[in-house]
């Protein structure tokens, strides 16, 4: 097991370096703008632009720049500095991380709870009207673009621009440490949006998985023993059905932490996704690189955790 974990971790690190290299080449070969000129401003003579380029290290060969980046990252966990504000990218990311974590974690709680509830109810009465209605509703939610859903919710329920003024709207996020109540209320709408599409997916997954496990022999045995239906479903059926789902939750949270840019943009939540989006529009490459890497890190770590989890549950995996 230890060897397997070490192997997975090593591959994870290598993967991260490969992703860094790929991104570096991509943004070096395909810059969206000239950072030196952007920093220099609208009216600038070539001399100063050249000086800025040298200051930012942009005149060095690609390989040197890459080596410096990797070295700083590996030795000092230093992601570099913003071309504009000189702010350290690491501090920017750490500053934005709580917002993104708040968004994803809260969303995950809602989608798991509602997905589980709806999934179980549907699985118990497959093909019933209730099942069809909830599965149909789930599909509609999966099909709705989340930014659109967010805007519609704002239009309907936001306290500032809504038709029915209930929840705080966009640009109302406050950190948990500043004001827990405001934090909670400001995140209600974003959570609903994050949860909507995922809850729908999970309801469908749980339904399928549960129907499958309820058909297994040991469930029939449990029923034969005279256990209550409630007990059979919750203690035996759901428990075995939920295992594969939990691993997917890990992966999804990993992906979401790095790609909540749409919801963050719509609701103006100062998270990692918004940071990345703003940096791209300003060609602030160190921030772009840092945020994408961070997001990749989430995905890779989630994958490793899931793999190790699998290996723990199913010894055959370790030797493959």
């Amino acid at each position: 097991m230890t060897r397997y974990i070490i192997r997975r971790l090593l591959w994870g690190v290598l993967l991260l370096i490969l992703v860094t290299a790929l991104l570096f080449v991509l943004f070096y070969v395909l810059p969206a703008g000239d950072p030196a000129k952007l920093r220099a401003g609208r009216l600038q003579n070539p001399k100063i632009i050249a000086a800025i380029r040298a200051d930012l290290g942009l005149n060095k060969p690609l390989l040197t720049q890459f080596w410096i980046y990797i070295r700083n990252l590996g030795l000092h966990f230093n992601f570099g500095y913003s071309y504009y504000s000189n702010a350290s990218v690491k501090s920017l990311i750490l500053d934005r991380l709580p917002a993104t974590i708040s968004l994803v974690a809260g969303g995950a709680v809602i989608w798991l709870a509602s997905g589980l509830g709806v999934g179980i109810i549907s699985a118990l009465r497959p093909r019933s009207r209730l099942d069809r209605a909830s599965m149909g509703g789930a599909l509609v939610l999966v099909s709705a673009p989340e930014y659109w859903l967010g805007l519609i919710l704002l239009y309907l329920f936001a306290a500032d621009i809504g038709q029915v003024k209930i929840f705080p709207g966009a640009n109302s996020y406050v950190p948990l440490t500043t004001d827990p109540v405001k934090w909670f209320t400001s995140l209600i709408l974003p959570w609903l949006v994050v949860a909507a599409s995922n809850a729908a997916i999970y309801a469908r997954l749980i339904r399928g998985s549960l129907i499958e496990s309820l058909g297994q022999d040991y469930i029939r045995t449990a029923r034969a023993k005279g256990l209550t239906e409630r007990r059979v479903v919750l203690r035996h059926g759901v428990r075995s059905a939920i295992n594969p789902i939990l691993t997917i939750v890990g992966l999804d949270i990993g992906v979401l932490l790095g790609s909540s840019v749409l919801v963050e943009t719509v609701f103006d939540i100062p998270g990692i996704g918004k940071l990345n989006y703003d940096a791209i529009t300003h060609s602030d490459f160190p921030i772009v690189q840092g945020t994408v890497l961070f997001a990749a890190l989430f995905i890779i770590v989630a994958n490793i955790l899931v793999d190790i989890g699998y290996a723990y549950l199913d010894p055959r995996v370790r030797y493959s």
Binding site: L26, A32, V140, S143, G208, V255, L262, T281
Partner: protein, 323 residues
């Protein structure tokens, strides 16, 4: 929505393997079709999609039949003194946008982008994924290692962030020596770049198990070449799962295009795209709800139809989950 691997794999791969284990006098394909026809929702979705394709191809005709102006007909008289667009009326059933362009007409033309991106993009990704998957699954060894690791790298990159970066970089002049031009070609490139990995993983798994089957041994005993075994013996067995799986990818890709266009790096005006219309509607959506609502509904219905169709196909292929 996030286009993570995790969301796609569970419904697909593992269960698809069971498809031709069915014991029956009828061929699996006949069974599949019989089951599919019984699923009224799926059939309705298929009809809806066919209709969409017709609308997309005949968009100019449809717009003319409905008596609407063209999608790029600007008319400043259709905005008020402050430049706010006017709402739905009999002449403009979905209202107009800030340029005085007819929203209904643009929604109809938007079908083209959605379907091209959804169908063509998915097709390109599928071809690449199937090819690599067959090679990796059949030869195993270093080809498999290399391709699988490459897929790992691609899957580790947050796709939407990458899309934002490439979309911004390839604006105006295009990039990669002009091969990736801004607009729809950038999106197709991104879809192909990311989506082949999903198809690849499924196909590779299927081929790994199929290559040990009797009919492959038989073909080999008869002296068939590797190429023949791969593409004439194994591949036909994969057609059904590949179709089902690609159908499930189409709605994801339509949403991906809309998301990129929403963020301003996808389809550029004057070409009509639903995502870009929603983006343009964002700053005025509290005064012009129609500009936001109708493209969004069109997007939702289209994605829903593909999801329902994919669902139906999957159930037909693997009836156990559909009980």
């Amino acid at each position: 929505m996030s286009v993570g691997a995790a969301e796609i794999v569970p419904g697909g791969g593992l269960q698809l393997l069971d498809s031709d284990v069915e014991i029956s006098a009828r061929s699996p394909r006949q069974l599949f079709w019989r089951r599919f026809r019984r699923d009224r929702v799926a059939v309705a979705s298929l009809i809806f999609i066919v209709l969409l394709i017709v609308v997309a191809i005949a968009a100019p005709l449809v717009v003319e039949l409905l008596g609407l102006p063209g999608p790029n007909t600007q008319n400043p008289n259709l905005t008020d003194a402050f430049g706010s667009p006017l709402g739905p009326s009999s002449a403009h059933p979905f209202g107009v946008d800030p340029l005085g362009q007819d929203v209904a007409s643009r929604v109809i033309y938007g079908t083209r982008v959605a379907l091209i991106v959804g169908i063509v993009g998915t097709a390109i990704a599928t071809v690449i994924g199937v090819f690599c998957g067959v090679i990796a699954g059949f030869y195993r060894g270093w080809a498999d290692t290399l391709l699988s690791r490459l897929a790992d790298v691609v899957l580790s990159i947050p796709l939407l962030m990458l899309g934002l970066g490439i979309g911004a970089a390839c604006a105006v002049r295009g990039c990669l020596g002009g091969a990736v031009q801004p607009g729809i070609r950038t999106i197709l490139f991104l879809i192909a770049f990311a989506n082949w990995t999903y198809v690849y993983r499924i196909v590779r798994g299927l081929v790994l198990s199929l290559r040990e089957r009797e009919f492959v041994d038989a073909a080999r005993a008869l002296g068939a070449s590797n190429t023949r075994i791969m593409f004439r013996e194994i591949l036909p067995n994969l057609v059904a799962p590949i179709i089902v799986y690609s159908t499930l990818l189409i709605p994801l890709n339509i949403l991906f295009e809309a998301a990129l266009s929403f963020l301003g790096v996808g389809i550029r005006p004057p070409t009509a795209s639903w995502g870009q219309m929603i983006a343009a509607a964002t700053p005025i959506f509290n005064t012009a709800w129609w500009y936001m609502a109708f493209p969004g509904i069109a997007l939702l219905l289209t994605v829903l139809a593909f999801n329902l169709l994919g669902d139906g196909l999957q159930d037909a292929l693997n009836p156990r989950t559909a009980r």
